[in-house]
């Protein structure tokens, strides 16, 4: 029998479902305008960005394709001496050459992961390569990455819900709440 999740870790709501939906709709309209003549491929990073990706894609009234990738994490790899570098755990299924690729991220923080993703995807010669993130902490950036579309600039806190997890839990909350750790 598994222990039920500790909901006491969920703090106050930072962004409710309505606020998220409204901003996602705005981003969708903006992207729709910018890519009207494009060949849009939305690329999302598992698992955190899945909810944002699904809502954003439905807010863009254009023919588009979607693909997903998974990236290793420092947190999981740090104890393994043979896994000391970031890598694709699941690669994209679509070729990128000549496509207008929009990387859909849940959060851009230090920019280290995104820097690796953009460098890797850039080698596949897309026609354009841009980034859309739900949450942004520009003041924590270490690497320079250009974020074309940003949903919300957030404070220096940890969050759960709307794709964000704490030990793989709480991603399915429809809102974004502070994590009390």
């Amino acid at each position: 029998m598994t222990t039920p999740p500790d909901r006491s870790l969920i703090g106050d709501v930072y962004l409710n479902a309505e606020a998220i939906a409204a901003r996602v709709a705005e981003l969708g309209t903006e992207i729709e305008t910018d890519y009207r003549d494009g060949d849009l491929l939305l690329v999302s990073v598992l698992k955190g960005a899945v909810f944002f990706m699904a809502d954003l894609a439905r807010a863009i009234d254009l023919p588009l394709e979607m693909d997903f990738m998974a990236i290793s994490s420092y947190q999981q790899d740090r104890e393994d001496q043979d896994r000391r570098a970031i890598r694709f755990m699941k690669d994209l299924e679509q070729p990128l050459q000549g496509r207008d690729v929009l990387v859909v991220e849940d959060i851009v923080d230090t920019g280290l992961t995104l820097h690796y993703i953009l460098r890797s995807l850039g080698l596949r010669e897309p026609r354009s390569l841009e980034v859309c993130t739900l949450l942004d902490r520009p003041y924590r950036r270490i690497t320079d990455v250009h974020v074309r579309y940003s949903g919300f600039t957030i404070p220096d806190d940890f969050f759960v819900g709307y794709g964000f997890d704490y030990r793989q839990l709480y991603r399915n909350l429809p809102y974004l709440a502070f994590l009390k750790i």
Binding site: A85, Y116, T143
Partner: protein, 122 residues
Amino acid sequence: MSEETPTFSYYRGTTPPKFVTPTERQAAEILDYYRVPWEYEPRTFVLEQEANGNIVEAFTPDFYLPDLDLYIEVTQMKQALVTAKNRKVRRLRELHPEIRIKLLYKRDFIQLAKKYDLSLPS
């Protein structure tokens, strides 16, 4: 430092890095994991010099990231005690406006530590 220095794949210096603090080593490990080439203390900037050439004050940032043309200084000092380091960074920017440098404070590293599940030096 007593802990053994791990093998780095993206270190671009010529001699093995000798980190002064655990925080520096952890920062190096994170950069290396993310395949960001880095150098450790590759350059010392003279901040103040006497007329006879004696160096009064100098500053050696901890890291240089050649691909990003960016220097990084990490500090694990308490926020209230970083005034001197802030001043050095400010002076460096005055003397070398072309130099890009980022100062990572203790609070930044605490957040990084939470994000990457690092053990923080006390």
